[in-house]
């Protein structure tokens, strides 16, 4: 059932802030990390917060969690500013999954998930039937019911991350904030976790904010991207819009790297290869990939590629050579370079 306090109009984000100044105070000193930060985080959407290290992504998360309240401005959680809420009320609105190590090896997965009910239980932490039902529901939703009685220490990294997400879900808050939830996961789990989050945003009507460095996964799963860099305030938009407008390039400060406008892959800015390469895709791309890694080589004038079986025909000014693999060609070019130097 929807808590009337948490209702909101569709235009306004559930979490929103205008012209925040982010940073923290230690003693009499204030350290300003970012300013002019404005955003709206919507329910039923998965938003990825991206940006280079040290631009203040964690500080922004902590401002939303109200652990480092903004130096200036207010973060609104639903219909109230975070600073007007008690700790318990905030806990009922924002749940988190953090990067820090957890020390719960002797807890079962169910015990871990049950910890999420802490803001809802009495002083002894006794779980009532409502709590039990919620725990069952979120374990079902994240497909970890069969792990319920396993110890957390026996889980794989991906399962542990899923259990931590289930714990955050059990907190029953409309907002979920996750700090690099895919950082130590293998390739398929990175996708699994992000698709799970995307699913949860829709099914459970959550506003989910994920800090990630994984552009490939973010482009594929996020509804919105928030880009942060050192120079300008937050840039927000759908991943596709940001790809088209070129805003996505802010992820890569400096001139050395860029995001490929077609594939979304990160590539190094290099001069075009001084060599004509002909043949079908994707063969041409991979040959280019290999040649770019070896900029010192003297390239042939033209390269012809053919499939089935794969072969390379390289023509130099006087003669022609055939290779069956890319590494064979590279080896040949390296030999040729050595001979040239020794002469």
């Amino acid at each position: 059932m929807e808590n009337p306090e948490n209702r909101q109009s569709d235009k306004e984000g559930f979490v929103r802030a205008n012209d925040l100044e982010l940073g923290y105070r230690s003693g009499a000193k204030t350290h300003r990390v970012a300013s002019g930060v404005s955003f709206s985080l919507f329910r039923k959407e998965l938003t990825c917060l991206m940006g280079p290290n040290g631009v203040g992504k964690s500080t922004l998360l902590k401002a939303i969690m109200h652990q480092h309240p903004p130096l200036k401005g207010e973060v609104w959680l639903g219909n109230s500013p975070a600073s007007h809420l008690s700790e318990k009320e905030r806990a009922k609105r924002v749940a988190v999954v953090l990067t820090e190590k957890i020390a719960t090896g002797l807890l079962t997965v169910r015990d871990l998930v049950a910890l999420g009910r802490i803001p809802h239980t009495g002083w002894w932490g006794q779980l009532n039937p409502v709590d039990q039902a919620k725990i069952n529901e979120v374990m079902e939703l994240t497909s970890i019911s069969q792990l319920a009685h396993k110890n957390v220490s026996a889980l794989s990294d991906g399962q542990r991350q899923t259990a931590l997400i289930a714990r955050a879900l059990a907190q029953d808050s409309p907002i979920m904030v996750l700090d690099e939830p895919t950082a130590h996961l293998d390739l398929s789990n990175r996708f699994e976790i992000m698709y799970l989050l995307r699913d949860l945003a829709r099914k459970a009507s959550k506003a989910i904010l994920v800090v990630t460095h994984d552009l490939e996964v973010a482009l594929e799963t996020a509804d919105k991207l928030w880009l942060m860099d050192a120079r300008q305030p937050l840039l927000t938009g759908s991943p596709e819009d940001l790809m088209i407008s070129g805003g996505i390039q802010r992820l890569l400060p400096g001139k050395k790297w860029r995001v490929d406008a077609v594939t979304g892959k990160i590539i190094r800015n290099t001069a075009p290869l001084p060599c004509k390469i002909e043949g079908p895709e994707p063969l041409v791309s991979w040959v280019k990939n290999a040649l770019r890694k070896n900029p010192e080589l003297n390239l042939p004038d033209t390269i012809f590629l053919s499939e089935n079986p794969f072969s390379i025909k390289a023509t130099f000014s006087q003669n022609q050579h055939r290779f069956d693999s890319i590494s064979e060609m590279i080896r040949f070019l390296q030999e040729r370079l050595k001979q040239k130097i020794s002469f």
């Binding site: 988190v96 807890l107 803001p119």
Partner: protein, 342 residues
Amino acid sequence: MNKFRSQRLVIVLLLCGILWLVNLSLGSVQIPLKSLLERIAGNPFPHSSWEIILMEYRLPKSLTVLLAGIGLSLSGLQMQTFFRNPLAGPYVLGISSGAGLGVALLTMAGTAFGIQVLGNPGNSWSLVGAASAGAMGVLILMGLAAWKVKDSMTLLIVGLMFGSATSSVITLLAYFSAAEELKLFTIWSMGNLGNTGWEDLGYLAGAVVLGLIPALFAIKSYNAMLLGETYAMSMGINFQKLRWTMILSTGILTGSITAFCGPIAFIGIAVPHLARLLFRTQSHSILFPATAGVGVLILLACDTISQLPGMATSLPINAVTTAFGAPLIIWMIMKRSFSEEF
């Protein structure tokens, strides 16, 4: 609490009961278990000296063991969870060193400074007073430090430094003191569970209950702390409040126990580990009763060993707890992966 854990708790409590009777029965004068049970049923002892031994010495001592076992092990549990450190114990915040300093000033400052600073060292109440004053002094200092210091690791280090600082003062006092005074202090530092009469016991019980109440109200917060400070705060736990709860609860518990019994070694560090090992959980709603039960069991066992029949006097309790505690800790370190739990 599942069936396996309830069963274990019942077993621990039953063993406590049996060991308690054994503890009352054994000693330089042995009271047969049968007579003891008859005495409980209401029949008087055949020897009137047994009555005096039981009522004036063994019964108050065993109740002291009960209170000290509960208080020290629950202090240790709170410290280990709060600091997320398997080596934390009731004395890491310098409480025992503070109490030790109080007692050292009482017993040894007379010769060291040429003046008697505090009361008469022969009087057991002035010992308790000096130890309490010392423990309270360190507790107040730690409170001030906690005010200034934000993170728990720094607080732990400050506590250890306070401990070292007071120890160095004690060393100086010991260096200048006369032999018999030094012995008085050394004997105090070996721990003594048998010095609390009925009147003292009332005060000790009051203090232990007072120390336990805030801890019981923090069970949920300690569970949240298993995930660390930031997670705990994200679940609505007031971290500053928990920190004060921890300092006050462990301060009152260990301060009062140390005042009456001297510093009892090892129980506070080893028992929470043993409880986790036996009950296979980190949930504090189970660990609180489990740790208290195991704490009583172990300290009763140690006390019984220290007064085994055939010996004219009883051994110092710390010699026994350490002789058992050290191998226990070594065994646990070999067997368990602490990295999963801390």
